[in-house]
């Protein structure tokens, strides 16, 4: 398959089941809601070492938030329910509770309820108060700038993590420009995050390593500087490869995000140095979710 001179590999991205939740952060203005959301989703690029993968889903209009203030919705993904609950609580406590004027609400009502502010309330040292409004429990925790309002719980759902595609380009600036264009379009899609810095990862990994202590290592088949010394997957004209990783609440959400992302890359086309689109997989043995590039772009 070739789109605008860009070759779409006959391969698939391999993704895994994860647990996910959504939280809504509001504040006096969008600036402070965003600051809090950025803090909460910081150091959350990969479950390999961060404990979770998190990102900003979108900015919310005041009409969309529970308290009528500007807000930001964030999605957090982890490999298991316990890990997700721990990460959510830690990040809510250290990044949202601490952030001026913030309030924190559930972004998913269904599913198993996991603590959001349920345990943060003890920070109130006995001065915290609860309000049950329209079936939802909120905690009001006195803090130095006034009161921190948080919903007690949020819903946890089954989700999919690790959807991806690789952009193979003639130069590093061209690969980055293509990924930036893809991220602009993918950020418009609901229920997905691209957890790596700016949504783009330049250090894609393979499973395993020559060093027994490491579970993952550099994906040498896609490293352009190793073209002559390893079993490469790159043609001589490829000088740079970048990857976009997508976590989504459902497989369909990732399908849609990959479609608009790949399309944005292909729109730049061969004339902008984009040669191929590929994807990372482990031979189909590790993850039950397969995203076949040519099927998505058909």
């Amino acid at each position: 398959m070739i789109i605008n001179g860009v070759s779409i590999d006959e391969t698939f991205a391999e993704a895994f089941p994860m647990k996910a939740t959504r939280a809504i952060i509001t504040a006096q203005n969008e600036k402070w809601a965003m600051i809090s959301a950025q803090a909460m989703t910081g150091f959350a690029t990969s479950v390999i070492a961060c404990g979770c993968e998190a990102g900003i889903e979108r900015v919310l209009d005041p009409s969309e938030t529970p308290d009528g203030r500007p807000g930001v919705s964030v999605l957090i993904f982890a490999m298991g329910g316990k890990g997700l609950a721990k990460q959510l609580e830690t990040r809510a406590g250290q990044c949202v509770l601490t952030s001026p004027t913030s309030a924190l609400f559930a972004g998913i009502d269904d599913g198993l309820q996991i603590p959001l502010g349920k345990n943060l309330r003890y920070f109130g040292d006995g001065f915290q108060t609860s309000k049950k409004i329209a079936g939802k429990r909120y905690w009001r925790i006195p803090v130095m700038d006034g009161e921190f309002l948080t919903e007690a719980t949020t819903g946890r759902v089954d989700a999919v993590g690790g959807g991806n595609f690789l952009v193979l380009a003639e130069s590093q600036p061209q690969a980055l420009a293509a990924c930036e264009a893809a991220i602009v379009e993918m950020k418009k899609m609901p229920n997905v995050i691209m957890p790596f810095p700016g949504g783009v990862v330049r250090s894609g990994s393979k499973v395993g390593s020559k060093y027994p202590a490491l579970g993952a290592s550099s994906n040498d088949a896609f490293c352009p500087t190793l073209k002559g010394v390893t079993k490469t997957d790159l043609s001589p004209d490829i000088e740079s490869v970048m990857e976009i990783v997508i976590d989504g609440l459902t497989k369909e959400d990732i399908d849609n995000a990959m479609r608009v992302g790949i399309q944005a890359v292909c729109d730049l086309g061969a004339e902008n140095g984009i040669k191929r689109i590929s994807a990372g997989n482990y031979g189909g043995k590790l993850g039950p979710f397969h995203f076949h590039l040519q099927e998505i772009m058909a």
């Binding site: 529970p66 308290d67 009528g68 203030r69 309030a103 006995g126 001065f127 108060t129 609860s130 309000k131 049950k132 409004i133 329209a134 909120y138 009001r140 006034g146 009161e147 309002l149």
Partner: protein, 270 residues
């Protein structure tokens, strides 16, 4: 199916226990069976068809017409269904109500909505003392749901209240929110003496400046984030509380009752 309607033929001299005539107890009964039910009337029994003219057959939608203030225990432990009282309701109106909708188009007597668990109870007129309170000797009053009173309420509204919303468009008598454990009481009109007496936790939300006891301390003026969410939850009510123009989030906060736990609050609109 039309609403099952009980129309009072003639008011009785003695009080009547109306607790058997509630949606969930009448669910599988025929109109003839319902007509034969005997109600306690003072020290004697009275057949339903002796006191009321019956019409309609929808047991999940009950109307009591020409109701008067001696009909007690209307909608006791109501579980789902809709009940409407056209006229006055006696004491214990909606006692221990579990869910559903209950409306009195006139006034209600003592202990309306007492120990209510859930649902929506609306009183278009005035309510007597101990609205949403605990029965004498019991420790917990209303535990959930919403009571809306469009008129005034008597003394001790929300006494021992545990959870839920008590919304009063008119004035409240003395001891409003006394011994309250938690929950929210909102009063648009005036409040009497000893507001929040021995209140432990919970919120008294007021539109008018109250006469506060010395055991409530001024905590200053604040913008509270939970108030817009609370007012948003009232939007579906047929009430002044649903009107956006009455909502506010700036309040003067008074903490108390310092003679008790001191974790309760009186929030006054500023």
């Amino acid at each position: 199916m039309s609403a099952l309607t009980f129309t009072v033929k003639q008011e009785t001299a003695q009080r009547v226990d109306m607790s058997p005539l509630v949606c969930h107890l009448l669910k599988d009964l025929s109109v003839a069976d319902i007509a034969a039910i005997e109600l306690q009337n003072g020290k004697r029994k009275i057949r339903v068809d002796e006191l009321f003219t019956l019409s309609g057959d929808d047991t999940q939608n009950i109307i009591i017409k020409n109701s008067y203030d001696k009909l007690d225990f209307i909608a006791k432990e109501l579980t789902d269904g809709v009940m409407t009282v056209e006229g006055e309701a006696g004491a214990y109106f909606g006692i221990s109500m579990k869910s559903g909708e209950l409306t009195a188009k006139g006034n209600a007597g003592l202990y309306a909505g007492c120990e209510m668990k859930n649902g929506l109870l609306t009183i278009n007129g005035n309510a007597g003392d101990f609205l949403g309170a605990a029965l004498p000797g019991n420790k917990q009053g209303m535990k959930g749901g919403t009571i809306l009173v469009k008129g005034n309420v008597g003394q001790r509204a929300g006494d021992h209240m545990r959870r839920g919303n008590l919304l009063i468009e008119g004035n409240a008598g003395d001891y409003c929110g006394s011994r309250m454990i938690a929950g929210t009481i909102a009063v648009m009109g005036t409040t009497g003496r000893y507001l929040g007496y021995a209140m432990q936790r919970g919120t008294l939300l007021l539109w008018q400046q109250p006469q506060l006891s010395a055991t409530f301390n001024d905590c200053g003026s604040h913008t509270l984030a939970f108030l817009p969410i609370l007012f948003k939850s009232f939007k579906t009510l047929n009430s002044k509380f649903a009107d956006e123009s009455v909502a506010f989030n700036r309040v003067q906060r008074f903490g108390g009752d310092m003679a008790e736990k001191g974790r309760a609050e009186v929030l006054v609109k500023i």
